[in-house]
Point group: C2
């Protein structure tokens, strides 16, 4: 079946959540959002491109920081309302300069930071 980005289930704002996972290590790096055009741009360019909700603009990941995500594979979930992108992550994915945005864990009811920013 030929893939049609219009066939995905977008929310009321025209967005779909996207999980980015390191294709080599399996580490979950971040979650962000795409609209239909961002899905099409990501597929056309191979550069993972989100929709920035705060800036209301396309967000070619790493365009300014250099911390790009090259698309290795794109997966669609059973309800077609979420995407998983397997990426080759250059440098840290997180704006705090950590590999993953999910660096805070709970231990005995308290928050602990698992990783420090990359020097």
């Amino acid at each position: 079946m030929v893939f049609d980005p219009s066939s995905l289930s977008y929310d009321a704002n025209g967005l779909i959540p996207v999980v980015a996972q390191d294709h080599a290590t399996g580490e979950v790096l971040m979650v962000a959002w795409m609209n239909k055009d961002a899905v099409m741009l990501t597929l056309a360019t191979g550069k993972v491109t989100y929709w920035s909700r705060s800036r209301a603009a396309f967000w070619v990941k790493g365009e300014t920081s250099g911390h790009t995500q090259r698309l290795m594979d794109l997966r669609i979930d059973c309800d077609r309302d979420c995407l998983l992108v397997l990426v080759e992550q250059v440098g840290p994915a997180c704006h705090t300069n950590r590999k993953s945005c999910f660096y805070t864990a709970l231990r005995d009811g308290a928050e602990v930071e698992l990783t420090a920013p990359i020097a």
Copy 2:
């Protein structure tokens, strides 16, 4: 810092997206949603409990199917608007009887199913 579920950033519907990942294999299993009470229930019981948007009710994963998710670790992202739960998944996570909901991939612009339902 003691964790306060109220400190998370919920959307206009009071929900936060949650990525469930197999703690042993790193496979991304599904994405669903929690509200504040579902976060508290998940932590209190160790049984991953979502908020079903379609049923507008708590959804103790696997309560009817037996395909439970035992919480092994909970991670918070940098913006505090997304969670990652590392789980021990019993049986398939997907309602289609596949381990992961992300069983559809794109190959040369077409959708292909990577896995079949578990017999």
